[in-house]
Symmetry: C2
Subunit: 221 residues, 2 copies
DNA sequence: TGCGATAAAATCGTATACGATTATAGGATA
DNA sequence: TATCCTATAATCGTATACGATTTTATCGCA
């Protein structure tokens, strides 16, 4: 029933991305290709293809003959990523609200339900479901180039959220905003979903700024 | 003097991209990896890494066990790419105008001179220099994520321009707009460079639309 | 002790080799 | 003739092997 068969290198893209997002692979330290490949039960060949793709996604950096490293997080990059989301997401999400069919609407609803129950159980992976929900609201716009860009911006965002906001625990503000957004989106209220999206991204960025400031002043390590 | 040593796979990215842009590799037909690698004098390993990167750039598509194909050009994609450029470029180019240092200003001027003389001599590769000029106006903004996105959008744009507009010959309108843009950009006139950029992208899109329409009606092949 | 040079080890990047999958050609049958 | 089936060839994707480069360790010497 799977739509597309995937070869090893493409599966590795998801697996390694997940490790980067949850911090299993530390920033700035070189990625040992043989070791990581062995750990994944494959050779370097497909792993290197996956790493090349992840570099294109903006998660890794590489130097000739020195391999790949996870790119470090910076406040400047966070600002840029959120600024781009603010430029692109509101219009896209409005178009998606207009065009979404019943299946896509169901998918979005389901993802928010899953995200909620995962939030309640306090499980790992809230970040991934959060991203999946947001992307489900964007995909029906039928703008593949825009969507790919937003997919990547959400991946980059998620690094900051998981590192700096998720540790704070349950985020009631975000949960409520998600419900409101879904409601407006399902109702195809383009004005409202647009406005709610601006607020949601803006508030998340505010939280992030506050936390980055707090952390930079607080612990010396 | 070269800033960064590049391994074979990264050089191949540029070489294969150039082939895609000039049409040497045809859309939709599968890319024969062994043959292309042999032609480039390398093995499939670095070639496949390059192809994976180019797929991430949006130039190629892949199917498991069937390899890579060049993505076809569509009017819908052209519209989307230009819409994205209109959303992102004006603000970015204004910031770049504000921040550009003397070296970056010189680089932009030089590139436009080269583009002009190449236009006069009617040589191949006008498209590449056109892209290099535009990117030189954007790079000094100091927004690496935005810049990478714009780099890719310009690559996608270039496919359409080279296929549908360059064959028409010398484009005096674009040449004049480039001069005006450079002037405003060097003068750090943010309002003006912003407005000129909107016009330039918009008019190029208009030309493209016209040509796409004409071609779709004209030759049956 | 600290520093520079050399040797050894580790790691990267790519060529070769090969099993797995897909595409093509050649009949056999309706 | 058209269609299905099988055999063959072509191609893909990955494991292994190995030279090239970088990193680490060792030593001599100020």
């Amino acid at each position: 029933m799977s739509i597309a068969a995937r070869n090893v290198s493409e599966q590795l893209v998801d697996q390694v991305r997940a490790r980067i997002l949850n911090g299993t692979v530390a920033p700035d330290r070189p990625i040992r290709q043989d070791a990581l490949a062995a750990e994944m039960g494959v050779s370097k060949i497909p792993l290197r293809e996956a790493l090349a793709r992840l570099e294109q996604e903006g998660l890794l950096a590489s130097q000739a003959n020195r391999g790949f490293t996870v790119r470090p997080l910076t406040a400047v990059e966070a600002e840029e990523v959120y600024a781009l989301r603010l430029k692109l997401e509101p219009e896209t999400i409005a178009i998606a609200a207009r065009l979404a069919d019943a299946g896509e609407q169901q998918a979005a609803s389901d993802l928010l339900d899953q995200l909620d129950s995962l939030t309640d159980s306090g499980g790992e992976g809230v970040g991934a479901f959060n991203r999946a929900f947001h992307l489900a609201l964007l995909r029906p716009a039928g703008r593949p180039v825009t969507f790919t860009i937003l997919e990547r911006l959400h991946v980059l965002s998620e690094r900051y959220v998981r590192k700096h906001l998720e540790p704070l625990g349950r985020n009631e503000r975000a949960n409520e905003e998600h419900r409101e957004m879904l409601q407006a989106w399902l109702a195809r209220d383009e004005r409202k979903i647009c406005a709610l999206t601006v607020v949601h991204i803006g508030k998340t960025l505010d939280d992030l700024r506050l936390q980055l400031q707090t952390e930079s002043k607080g612990p010396p390590g």
